[in-house]
Amino acid sequence: MSDSKLQLGSQDNTDLLSRVRTLLARRTEGRALALLAVVIIVTLFIEPTTFTSYEVTLGRIAQIGLVALGLTAVILMGELDLAVASTLAVSGVIMASVENMTGSLTLGILAALVTGLVIGVVNAFFVVQVGINSFIATLGMLFFLRGLGFVLSGEQPVRLDNVDAGLAFGDPLIGPLTPRMLIFLVLFIGLQVFVTRIRVGREFYAVGGNRQAAYDAGIPVKARVYLGFMISGSVAALAGVMNTLERTAADPTAGSTVLLSSFAAAIIGGILLTGGRGSVFGTLLGAASLGILQVALTLSGIQVDVQNIIIGVVLLLAVTTDPATIRAVVTNVRSMMAGRADARAQPG
């Protein structure tokens, strides 16, 4: 938060301990770090192969984290993009269809990314221009686009003609890092720099923290919201492209579990759904804990249904144990108790 940074300047004279304390209080990644530590320690004892076969684990983290990164940009502004799951599926289908028609993989990928951008613009249009809450607008889009994916694909997976490119995409490029991991890394660094170092990105926090104040301060709020949805849309499309390349086919039903894991990653990362607070680094930590957890569960032979239960519980806990809400709950419960005590004290 930008105002917290201002505070730091005035605290230069205080001792190291209180500066560390201030730093800790400002950070939002505490829970993500704690969960990651627990997951790593438990996994080390129960399923250490998760770390020896680190290519698989890193790949899974990149998979979960990518859509979550895009979401982070939107949630920072207090908006939500539920349509990412269908955006992923539709853009994959469009990529494969265009590639089949034109024979050019590049054109297919371009078409998919443009689709993601357009979806982002449409989402933002309903949120900004029409004034619908983004939860409902993108929920409607989620169903609409899922249907569109079925229609475009004929409710069948669309095969990619260029299988070689798909297979090559799975090979390590630099050291053990596959193109997927590299793209994720680049995007992570890019987004981290964008929201912490670049003015436009930093304004996302302002828009999420207090939209009216941001507007009064001269920030083009509408343009920022458009940009946020375009980021989440195109990042989801990029995820669709990569999934399609890896499986050499586009699956129109893809993405239902993406919704769960990507939201879980962002929320575990400490982002506040009402906006203004959170970090890209937190999302990375959230994705890392979920990725390690999923791979460990899979390697231990735990079936997908149970994995979904566990991730669902983690998401439920993450969304209810935000430090700020916990404080509010404690205050509420205290005042409720006090109210009851008052009522008892009154005669009759």
């Binding site: 004034g131 169903f143 203004g276 979904n308 991730i311 669902g312 439920l316």
Partner: protein
């Protein structure tokens, strides 16, 4: 720390164009407002009229019975969920898991240990759903969409894990089967159940203190809390009603098809939401009606039926319902803008 809290409370208060507009009816209404307020009556009438004239096989007794049979479970889910929408908590996504769980429990347990135990167990599960969703949203102030997304995955996961995804068949001579096939003229008995539940819940919403408080909470949560009302219980109550609607919807669905499987309620969440919103209940909270939801259910069911009769695939149906949700909410939002300016 203090500025941190200040930012949050600022973010929690509804945006300037969000507050409900009391006395909307008394103002000079624009065309958009008229559409948002009364449009559903015209649209439903036009849709049915058009279907009768243009769609082959729509106006047959068998088809109308079929429409009612399919409308009843979704309708029962929707009237319960209406309370969640009115309380300004968007929707209850977990009805998908709840309907399937109730259906499977009814079939599986009544086959093995009798219908009474099945109903008892399903009721208990519904209470757990309503309580978990309600406490997470009402006490912990978590976002309803995310909470119910989590409980959907937990619920479906538990159901598929325990049932192994297998299909449960009912017996031919059971009470459930008798209910599922019973008819009053062209109306299946389930439709009567829907109307009765609708009337009962409409009474709750319009004539009881709980109904009044939930509407007040939906239009202004802070004022309701400051008025000394325990708002946590209001939200828990809304999710309880949604859970009971989903349970009864699951019973009716199982009785109609005399089978139950964990995937049988796919799409119930957004079909119910579409019915609620099309009916005129506002996603901005505070304003809505159970009887209007019944009308919305008719609209959505007839629309789906027309698409099925016209041979349109599942994909087009989903697109249509998705577009319907966005269109109806846009209309509501534009009407609000027209009212405030």
């Amino acid at each position: 720390m203090s500025d941190d809290l200040a930012t949050e409370t600022a973010a929690e208060t509804p945006s300037p164009d969000a507050p409900a507009v009391p006395g909307l009816e008394e103002r000079d209404t624009s065309a958009v407002q008229w559409m948002a307020e009364r449009g559903i009556f015209v649209f439903t009438a036009l849709l049915i009229l058009a279907a009768t004239i243009f769609v082959d096989g729509f106006a047959s007794l068998a088809n109308i019975t079929d429409v009612f049979n399919r409308a009843a479970p979704i309708g029962i889910v929707a009237v319960g969920m209406t309370f969640v929408v009115i309380s300004a908590n968007y929707l209850d996504l977990s009805v998908v898991a709840q309907v399937a769980t109730a259906a499977v429990v009814l079939m599986a347990v009544s086959n093995s240990s009798g219908i009474l135990l099945a109903v008892l167990l399903a009721t208990l599960i519904a209470i757990v759903y309503g309580f978990v969703n309600g406490v997470a949203v009402g006490v912990f102030k978590a976002n309803a969409v995310i909470v119910t997304l989590a409980t959907t995955f937990i619920g479906i996961g538990v159901l598929r894990w325990l049932s192994g995804g297998s299909i449960y068949f009912g017996t031919e001579d059971s009470l459930i089967r008798a209910f599922g096939t019973a008819k009053l003229g062209p109306f299946p008995l389930s439709m009567l159940v829907l109307v009765l539940i609708g009337l009962a819940l409409s009474y709750v919403l319009t004539r009881t203190t709980f109904g009044f408080v939930i509407r007040a909470f939906g239009s202004n949560p802070d004022a309701t809390r400051l008025a000394g009302i325990n708002t946590a219980w209001v939200v828990i109550g809304a999710f309880m009603l949604s859970a009971f609607g989903a349970m009864l919807g699951g019973f009716v669905l199982a009785a109609f098809s005399n089978t139950a499987v964990s995937a049988m309620s796919d799409g119930f969440d957004f079909r119910a939401l579409a019915a609620i919103i099309v009916g005129g209940t506002s996603v901005f909270g505070g304003k809505g009606s159970v009887l209007r939801t019944l009308l919305g259910v008719i609209f959505v069911s007839v629309l789906t039926n027309i698409m099925v009769l016209s041979g349109l695939g599942f994909g087009i149906q989903q697109m249509a319902i998705g577009a319907l949700i966005v269109a109806a909410v846009s209309l509501d939002a534009l009407a609000r803008k027209a009212a405030t300016t």
